[in-house]
């Protein structure tokens, strides 16, 4: 399949992150191009999740620069990353447990809802129209992810695989330009993984969403990603298209060595 990539949308330069004396990330640079599926791999504790947390502003690196769409950004809070169009899912599902599937995904659209608190209190006019308009969008996502039957179920009661799907739905609801996925297929069986792969590829294809993905399943990574970054102990040890990475000596000794 011929794939078209755009400009560099996210550029990370010399990122270092420390917690007290512990170095989580050391001098990491890589970039992500528009419409790309970019995988981050590495053994446990390599700093992959920290990397995503840096990208969407949960952690603030002590050194280095981040350019998003050519603009350098300073210290930013997570909600600002969201307003710039960066959405994300979490390694240990971070859904709002007390809320239904529908409400969870609706929450993903909060940035697009503009009625004020008084209108909402009256639930009249603009507020109601807005609520219904967004409900229609959310129903599209629910259809897309094939979770119609559970839309009113509290997410806490859903099985793990479905929860992962709902979380993806919540991220998609924001109509992001960039989607960060932290181990979207962890703990899934083969069928569930296949479904998830299909959703990711469809999102990338249909909406043109750029995807940054952490995954342990090498088969999946090599299959669906365009370029791969390899981290080990907070350092970058490899970067390139899947074949390149697969043949990189450092990567093999650090990580892939056991499986090939």
């Amino acid at each position: 399949m011929e794939r078209k990539f755009g400009e560099v949308i996210l550029d990370l330069q010399n990122i270092s992150l420390r917690f007290g004396g512990v170095k989580a990330l050391t001098d990491i640079s890589f970039n992500v191009r528009e419409h790309e599926i970019r995988a981050i791999i590495g053994p446990n504790g390599a700093g992959k999740s920290s990397m995503l947390n840096v990208i969407n502003g949960v952690y603030h690196p002590q050194e280095g620069q981040i350019l998003f769409r050519g603009q350098q950004r300073q210290k930013m809070e997570p909600h600002m990353a969201a307003t710039q169009g960066i959405a994300r899912t979490f390694q240990n599902i971070a859904l709002f447990k007390g809320m239904s599937v529908l409400d969870n995904i609706m929450t993903g659209r909060n940035l697009m809802m503009n009625s004020n608190i008084l209108q909402m209190a009256l639930y009249w006019g603009a507020a109601q129209r807005e609520e219904i308009a967004h409900r229609e969008k959310v129903e599209e996502i629910i259809d897309f992810l094939e979770i119609q039957s559970v839309r009113k179920t509290p997410v806490g009661q859903l099985p793990y695989g479905l929860q992962k799907r709902v979380e993806l739905g919540r991220a998609l609801a924001a109509e992001p330009t960039m989607l960060l996925l932290d181990e979207p297929m962890a703990g899934m069986n083969v069928e569930e993984k296949q479904d998830m792969c299909r959703f990711i590829l469809d999102v990338n294809d249909q909406f043109g969403t750029t995807i940054v993905l952490i995954e342990h399943d090498m088969g999946v990574v090599m299959d669906i990603s365009d370029r791969v970054v390899v981290l080990d102990y907070g350092k970058k040890i490899g970067d390139g298209v899947p074949e390149e990475v697969r043949n990189n000596e450092d990567v093999i000794s650090a990580y892939l060595g056991t499986s090939h």
Binding site: L95, F96, M99, T107, N110, M120, Y123
Partner: protein, 354 residues
């Protein structure tokens, strides 16, 4: 067999997003309102209004306000009494200092003052969480206790902070008889319950719940924690403040700061826990429970013919409340409201369980 949603198809999202999507529920609530507005005023005795219905309504309102903060936004507050006090004393000052101030306006202004104080004491919630915040809200409680006792301007220079209001009227209708007081409270409570329900099912309500359930994830999808938390504090303390005005003006008539002590704060928190965290109907159930239980316990020895001193009964009430709180937290953390909805779920399927 009667309580079914079979055959009630929704053809629009608006229909699906109603407060009571099931037909039978709409009938039930309509019936309840008819009883409350029409039947009760005809049959209720004076004691019934004064000792049960009026306090029940006002405490429901306060619990409703608190539930928005604790149940929906997950920010625990042990200073509810303080915000009630601010509402009550602020409204009192508006009444005393401005001639011809209408009751409704004073009530809303009182609520507004409570909002300001509530937001002020809510600011620490941006930096501190959970247990630390609980203690921080106690600061509000102790500070207002002291302020209304010591700063005489607030109480119009009356001794020991005790003040009173009289001759209440709304749109020229005097609010003096138990029935008129009851109806006034009922209207206010219904209006606020509806507004609150609307808020919690809109975007802002989802933001509160998101912050409650997982604040980091909420921030990541673009919710500003500052805005969500402070609006919860604002809305909550507004409602609590209005409840404070009602409690002082309508129920007590004459009061002193002790009416809004830390015991009141705890009592309201218990109502919310027993009734159900994060549920509008829970506030009503909890308030009903907390109002009725002491009365029942008070009467029970009479009925059974066991002589008991009032002090013993008061202690027994403490014991039973304490045990019930623990019981509810262990068995059903979502309170009476959850039991109620579980019952309804069962009823939907009854008599065929699958």
């Amino acid at each position: 067999m009667l309580y079914r949603e079979n055959g009630q198809f929704k053809t629009s999202y608006a229909a699906d997003q109603q407060i009571f999507p099931i037909l039978q529920d709409r009938w039930a609530i309509a019936l309840l309102l008819v009883v409350a507005f029409v039947v009760m005023p005809m049959v209720g005795s004076e004691y019934f209004f004064r000792a049960i219905l009026i306090p029940f309504l006002i405490l429901s309102l306060a619990a409703l306000g608190l539930n928005i903060l604790v149940g929906y936004c997950g920010q625990i507050s042990l200073g509810t009494g303080a915000f009630m006090a601010v509402g009550a004393y602020a409204a009192y000052n508006f009444m005393v200092r401005i001639d011809g101030m209408p009751l409704i306006a004073a009530m809303l202004l009182g609520g507004l003052c409570a909002t300001i104080i509530g937001v002020l004491f809510g600011i620490p919630s941006l930096r501190i969480k959970g247990l630390y915040l609980a203690v921080a809200t106690l600061a509000a409680q102790f500070f207002t206790d002291w302020a209304f006792l010591r700063i005489n301007w607030f109480t119009n220079y009356s001794t020991s902070g005790s003040v009173s209001v009289g001759n209440l009227s709304v749109f020229g209708i005097p609010i003096d008889s138990p029935v008129s007081k009851y109806l006034f409270c009922l209207v206010v409570v219904c209006v606020f319950a509806l507004l609150a329900k609307n808020l919690v099912r809109s975007a802002i309500g989802r933001q509160w719940m998101a912050i409650r359930d997982m604040d980091v994830a909420a921030a990541v999808i673009g919710i500003r924690p500052v805005y969500a938390k402070l609006t919860a504090f604002a809305v909550s303390s507004f409602i609590v403040g209005v409840a404070g005005v009602l409690w002082a003006f309508v129920y007590l008539g004459a009061w002193e700061p002790a009416a809004f002590s830390i015991d009141r704060s705890f009592q309201l928190l218990f109502m919310v826990i027993i009734g159900g965290l994060g549920s509008i109907s829970g506030a009503f159930l909890g308030a009903a429970f907390m109002v009725l239980l002491p009365i029942v316990l008070d009467q029970l020895p009479h009925w059974l013919g066991i002589p008991m001193s009032t002090a013993t009964i008061a202690h027994l009430v403490h014991i039973i409340f304490g045990a019930l709180i623990v019981f509810f937290l262990i068995v059903e953390p979502h309170g009476l409201a959850k039991l109620w909805s579980v019952g309804k779920q069962k009823l939907r399927l009854w008599p065929f369980p699958h």
